[in-house]
Assembly symmetry: C2
Homo-oligomer: 124 residues x 2
DNA sequence: GTGATAATGATAACTCGATATCATGTCAAT
DNA sequence: ATTGACATGATATCGAGTTATCATTATCAC
């Protein structure tokens, strides 16, 4: 169980080359540069599998109808969502912990921050 | 243009009584306590309308496939999502703007912050 | 190389939130 | 009370995203 296929390698390559989380649809298009005949089903199958093996992780962004995926090896970071082109970028800003500013009893394990606005391509 | 209906009043009442953002489906069920025959289409029509009149606003939360709605009279705030009981709380913390910390060209209009952890009830 | 079988690709089918349709009901100005 | 425009409710429809089906292909242990 677990054969290596060129399709899966293509999908891995796509995530190594990407600076931002990707939708399944984007993965499909990008990976077709390596394997033109790649099909949708294979993309979904492999995204699921690569998450199970810990190579990828899911990213859930507000307002996005679909789940995005990114390499699981990335450091803690947040996301910038361009309201014009709808792409999502990784950004390094982080507001830090909030536990001290919350009412007693609230314990923060994790936080998600999403910035919305215009990316450099769309500002121009 | 603009008649008052008991359906719309019921939907208003639901939001006044709610301490958290609601899905259209939740609004439907809750408002049916006032108007049992209330239909889905009416909920969607009125959510849209109430947003246009400025009474409600939309809230987008990660992991939610649908748009949520809340009263527009609430001050700027963020949300705390309890991972145990799955409830969403309003919290007053705010990380402020980030534009200065971003690469040039990124322009921030808005941000969403979601904290995940345990609420007072679940910490005990 | 061979063969068992895992993986793929094309496509149909499904999910589910949201919208469109349209006959019926209701609000409110008169 | 009348009436016409607006709102409603049941249902069909839409559409994006995802999954299921299944015949075909490709991987890899041997």
């Amino acid at each position: 169980m677990g054969r290596n296929t060129e399709q899966r390698d293509a999908i891995r390559a796509v995530f190594e080359a990407s600076a931002r989380p990707l939708k399944p649809e984007e993965v499909l298009v990008l990976a077709q540069a390596f394997v033109p005949a790649l099909g949708v089903a294979t993309v979904y199958r492999n995204l699921k599998r690569l998450c199970e093996t810990g190579e990828l992780r899911t990213v859930e962004l507000p307002g996005h109808r679909t789940t995005l995926y990114e390499s699981a090896q990335l450091d803690h970071h947040h996301h910038f969502h361009c309201q014009d082109c709808d792409r999502v970028f990784d950004v390094d800003v982080c507001p830090g912990s909030f536990t001290s500013q919350l009412p007693p009893g609230f314990q923060v394990n994790r936080h998600d921050l999403v910035l919305y606005g215009a990316c450099p391509d769309c500002t121009a």
